[in-house]
């Protein structure tokens, strides 16, 4: 507690230490001259002193300097830098448009920010991914995937072959706060986890925070994936699209009112179902027999849209939305059996940016987020439906205050109303319907206020100190409205916590720095899974009397060094994270035990810890760019009621994780790329014993995650060809990829079979056959070439 009070005193001290000097502020927005898009992370700095700042998520910047003359430079990847000579003797508003730089496109610079920001910033364990760069990397089945690209960074792992789930520094997939234009996305994958729900064509910026989480973020233990959608071209109409093996996509954008308002609509749909339809005709064309599986299929689609309106020089409005669905259906007319499983996310954000003055910027948002899953089964005249979901209404206000060049102060508040629908079921038999009197729902209120100050104590020392005060109130099955209306004394679960956040940078010289970070995070909602992989059936449950909030404390230390005038960026980070109140289903839990009721009694709770070292070597400039990332880590869990109380490795525990990514600009038309990944095998649980009941064989599993499978490794290569059609309005590119070049048979899953029973021998079974249990490793995705055609006009 003393430490927390000390931090508050430091805030106050730092905040008043710069008073009394004659300061003036330069502020404004920076946008792309061609599209009118606000640019995030543009570096704005004085060329002589290198004092500076960067544009925020809305393209706004504010730089307060002592009265004097300055050469202020605005620089951003792929765009021509602009330098303004300014005689600063009053507050000044400068909006800048940066133009495309044809020289820079010859030699690639992959960073969209000040080139030594990794040295000078107080933040650590944060990475910005450039969408244009990941579009040049080799992809699987032609699908550019934001989450799979993030997995190539040190400290972030996948769950295995094909998975787009993120596991950050020993945290599970529910410990990542995934935001799309500030709206929480609860299930970020399509096709049972193979692809992410984010359409790269509609994305402007991706920021990943895996440690040292700033105070404005909370509600999750491990990481933040903050994705900002494009605003839409406010200069001219534009269409982008692509045709791939798996899906096609189309993006339309343009001005509603030139330079004042614009829109963007982006859609994507797979066509597995369309391609397979001829083979699943009602009548098989080859045999003339009825096709028992007619009506089976799978598809996903997503639609992203955004509209913005510049109300005045000080006010801007943004309305954005996402809607995506996966639909899996299976039918077998032989026994009248049919399944339909739809699931997906819907989000909506309405945001208002307001500039009070040159130093104070505000964003206010109203956000809606919804995730739902359904399982429908019909057989004969029986129908059964199970459904679950989570629905959020969220409002937040964030302030950015930059009183002088040494301080960047952020403060704000956030309130979310959660509505959980745990596993509910309804059924029908003939004319009789089985349905609970009302759908079982649970309601919770989550709130937070925060304050942080990114403060330069001296030229060498920079501190980002923050406090987040979070609260969670769970009303069980009583909605907030009824709670207020009927009885404020109704029993509910209340949790309130202070979460200190601290990052510190010590600059050793102009090219190197030491950094440290300490964070405490609470997480009030939890994802419960009965599966060994992340599936849409996984259930979000709130903290309650039985389910305590998760807690994590993370310590991180790092050394950062840039070489050859920032051409090479290197870092070495070490972290230790301890987690408490982690949640698992009890051993032997059956989902139907808690149908139409709370799941609270189904869980068991435990702790975990993770520690590791991450190395990153990155080349930012030149014809060849890319990075090498390596992580050495260990993640362990401790549950009294799991694995007989003995510690066990997390299933995503990886001792070694190496990724090498490279892009080479061969000519004006050709860009080559390659990826190599090596990771220790996952830890899995295997059967150890079997026994017979009623003539059938049953299995006993022991030692949770006690078997480590073979290491995972693969190499992908790709090439992007851009035909040189000078000054033609219609542009196109071809992307060629080969996934898993040497066709490594990486494990997808292991299954077991009792071999030796001859199906041709009548009544042969385990009693009279000579049965040999065998284990088989199944691999998907051998060498997979793909081609995608992208266009723009």
């Amino acid at each position: 507690m003393k430490g927390k009070i000390f931090t508050i005193i430091l805030f106050i001290f730092f905040s008043i230490s710069m008073l009394g000097q004659t300061n003036f502020t330069i502020s404004g927005y920076v946008q792309d001259n061609e599209s009118g898009e606000n640019l995030i992370g543009v570096s704005i700095y004085d060329r002589n002193t290198f004092k500076g700042t960067a544009t925020n998520q809305y393209g706004f910047y504010s730089l307060t300097l002592v009265k004097g003359k300055y050469d202020i430079t605005y620089s951003f990847v792929g765009l021509e830098s602009v330098t303004k000579n300014i005689s600063l003797n009053k507050d000044t508003r400068i909006n800048i448009s940066l133009e495309n730089n044809s020289i820079l496109t010859e030699e690639v610079i992959v960073k969209g920010e000040k080139l030594d920001k990794n040295i000078t910033s107080s933040n650590m364990s944060q990475v910005k991914i450039e969408v244009n760069n990941i579009k040049q990397l080799p992809v699987i089945l032609g699908e550019v995937d934001v989450l799979k690209s993030a997995q190539l960074l040190p400290g972030i792992t996948s769950n295995g072959e094909g998975s787009s789930g993120l596991y950050v520094r020993g945290g599970g997939p529910d410990q990542n706060l995934i935001l799309l234009d500030e709206a929480v996305v609860y299930n970020a994958s399509h096709l049972f986890g193979f692809f992410s729900v984010f359409n790269a064509d509609a994305i402007k910026d991706i920021n990943i925070i895996k440690g040292g989480m700033p105070a404005e973020y909370g509600g999750r233990l491990s990481s933040v994936l903050d994705i900002t959608m494009k605003d839409g071209n406010n200069k001219k109409y534009e269409a982008d699209g692509g045709i791939g093996l798996l899906s096609s996509r189309l993006t339309l954008q343009g001005p509603v009112q030139k330079d004042k308002s614009s829109f963007i609509v982006s859609g994507r749909r797979t066509y597995i179902d369309v391609l397979s339809r001829p083979f699943l005709n009602k009548i098989d064309p080859e045999t003339g027999e009825p096709n028992a599986f007619s009506g089976s299929g799978y598809y996903f689609y997503d639609l992203t849209t955004k509209i913005n309106y510049r109300v005045s020089d000080k006010d801007r409005l943004y309305l954005s939305g996402y809607f995506g669905r996966d639909v899996f259906s299976f039918a077998n007319s032989d026994n009248g059996f049919a399944i339909a499983i739809p699931w997906g996310n819907a989000t909506g954000s309405l945001r208002w940016n307001h500039l009070f003055n040159n130093k104070l910027f505000m964003n206010t948002s109203i956000i809606f987020s919804d995730y739902r899953f359904e399982f429908n089964l019909a057989q004969s005249d029986f129908e059964f439906k199970i459904f679950s979901g989570i629905n959020d209404w969220n409002t937040k206000v964030d302030f950015l205050y930059q009183p002088n060049q040494r301080h960047t102060i952020k403060f704000g508040a956030n309130y979310t109303y959660h509505e959980f629908t745990p596993g509910n079921a309804t059924g029908k038999s003939g004319d009789v319907e089985f349905a609970p009197d009302e759908i079982y729902r649970q309601y919770s209120n989550e709130g937070a206020i925060y304050f942080s100050n990114d403060f330069e104590l001296s030229d060498d020392i920079k501190i980002n100190a923050g406090l987040r005060y979070s609260s969670f109130q769970h009303n069980g099955d009583i909605s907030f409205f009824n709670y207020i209306k009927n009885d404020l004394t109704l029993n509910s679960d209340n949790y309130r916590h202070i979460e200190p956040r601290l990052s510190l940078r010590y600059k050793l010289n102009t090219t190197s720095s030491l950094k440290g970070a300490y964070t405490e995070n609470y997480q009030y909602i939890h994802l419960a899974s009965t599966s060994s992989v992340s599936l849409p059936t996984d259930l979000w449950v709130p903290s309650s009397t039985a389910i305590k909030p998760k807690f994590a404390r993370q310590y991180a230390l790092g050394v950062f060094k840039n070489l050859k005038d920032n051409m090479y960026e290197t870092s070495l980070e070490a972290y230790y994270k301890e987690m408490t109140n982690l949640i698992e289903y009890k051993e032997g839990y059956l989902p139907e035990d808690n149908t139409n009721s709370s799941s609270d009694d189904s869980f068991t709770f435990g702790d975990g810890d993770s520690y590791g070292v991450e190395v990153l070597v990155k080349k930012n400039q030149g014809k060849t760019t890319g990075w090498i990332g390596y992580t050495l880590s260990k993640t362990t869990k401790y549950f009294d009621e799991v694995n007989n109380g003995l510690s066990f490795p997390a299933k995503y525990d990886r001792r070694h994780d190496l990724s090498i990514t490279a892009t080479h600009k061969l000519s004006k038309s050709w860009v080559l790329s390659g990826v190599f990944v090596y990771a220790s095998g996952n830890s899995i649980t295997l059967p150890t014993e079997r026994y017979v009941i009623g003539g059938d064989v049953y299995t006993q599993f022991t030692s949770r995650n006690g078997y480590r499978v073979d290491p995972y490794h693969r190499m992908d290569i790709g090439a992007t060809y851009t035909p040189s059609k000078k000054k033609k309005k219609f542009k196109s590119t071809w992307n060629f990829s080969i996934y898993n070049v040497y066709s490594r048979k990486n494990l997808y899953f292991i299954y077991f079979a009792l071999e030796g029973i001859d199906e041709n021998v009548e009544n042969q079974n385990i009693q009279n056959g000579n049965v040999e249990p065998k284990a088989y490793q199944v691999s998907i995705f051998p060498i997979l070439p793909s081609i995608t055609w992208n266009f723009n006009f």
Binding site: G336, S380, S532, E587, T688, R690, N770, P773, Q777, V778
Partner: protein
């Protein structure tokens, strides 16, 4: 050809055999036992074995334990312990070793059917304790026999999805007791199931030797409702979805003489055992159903069988059972459970 190309694209995955060694942690006793109103208790005992151990007729038979001490006890109305020592069934019921009260079996007046007066030891509403001693191990368990809840009626009706006119369903109306958290277990046995040997064109009775598990579950969704349901049997996939056979003539042609004729195939006769069971027992039976359904599913978090046996594996269940005998004849209807003296003892086990 297109079809095969599509199948190829869908099946790009490949597999290889891997070798894993896991020694067995400890030798444990596996119990499959039950007790129901008016019937003697029974227990089948076996041992666990290593997952990758080979199974053949010899190793399978060696799994069963036939030298254990098995005791079932309860408290009578006066709170005094009353117990029964179970012994192995003699031939011809010794294809697997079943422990039961053989004194009751020798008292049967019309074997293999139960006695009309029942078995005094086993009554619904009472709790029964099991003790098994074997190889310096003692395992225990406890179960309660709930009150049975009969079905309102059962009838035989044409299966609407089958093109074959002799495929019929057993349908029933069940009236679930309201406000009672009861749990249901359903078993069945094709007591008669004639099929044609198409090589020699003779009839063979492919009846089930023992009762088969159809399903088990709680009444959370159906509590207090009266509704129609149906009772299918297992097919190749071992998931109960299939209808039964009524009588029919099956045409055939002799391959040598070319002589055309038909053979009369009698209808199936099915025994339905409809039971109420207690909470620990339904957890055991649900996990049996679930592991059976998910066996081999690599995405399923491993699910051990939920046992109510202290120190061992398996389950000890009190059944509040009613039995029905259903001949698969179009329009056959009954609302009468079988009387005690029409229940075959083998259907109890």
């Amino acid at each position: 050809m297109k079809k095969y190309l599509f199948i190829f694209l869908c099946c790009i995955s490949c597999e290889k055999e891997i070798f894993i060694e896991f020694p067995i942690e400890s030798q444990k006793i596996v119990v499959e036992g039950g007790i129901e109103t008016d019937m003697p208790p029974y227990v089948i005992l076996s041992k666990n074995q290593g997952y990758f151990d080979e199974i053949n007729s010899s190793t399978y038979n060696n799994l069963f334990i036939n030298d254990a001490e098995v005791i079932v006890w309860t408290l009578d109305e006066n709170g005094i312990a009353d117990s029964v020592y179970l012994q192995l069934l003699p031939p011809p019921f010794d294809s697997i070793p079943i422990y039961t009260d053989i004194n009751y079996l020798t008292s049967l007046t019309n074997p293999p059917y139960a006695n009309l007066n029942g078995y005094n030891f086993s009554k619904s509403g009472k709790t029964y304790n099991l003790i098994v001693r074997w190889n310096n191990q003692e395992i225990t368990s406890q179960t309660t026999i709930p009150n049975p809840t009969p079905l309102d009626c059962l009838w035989v009706e044409k299966n609407e999805f089958s093109d074959l006119d002799y495929k019929f369903d057993i349908r029933a109306i069940y009236n679930d007791p309201a406000d009672e958290q009861n749990n249901i277990l359903i078993k069945y046995r094709k007591k008669i199931h004639w099929d044609v040997d198409t090589v020699n064109w003779i009839l063979k009775d492919h009846k089930d030797e023992f009762m088969e598990l159809m399903d088990a579950g709680t009444d959370v969704l159906i509590d207090g409702q009266r509704f129609e349901t149906y009772f299918p049997h297992k097919g190749d996939g071992n998931i109960p979805t299939l209808p039964y056979n009524s009588s029919r003539y099956k045409k055939y042609q002799d391959n040598i003489t070319g002589f055309e004729d038909s053979i009369y195939v009698p209808n199936d006769v099915v025994i339905i055992k409809f039971c109420q069971i207690d909470e620990p027992a339904v957890k055991f039976w649900r996990s049996i159903v679930r592991q059976f359904g998910s066996n081999g599913n690599p995405f399923q978090e491993p699910l051990n069988i939920v046992s109510n046996i202290e120190g061992g594996y398996g389950g000890w269940t009190g059944f509040g059972a009613v039995y029905y005998k259903i001949p698969i004849i179009d329009g056959y209807t009954t609302d009468s459970p079988l009387p005690l003296d029409s229940i075959e003892i083998i259907d109890v086990f």
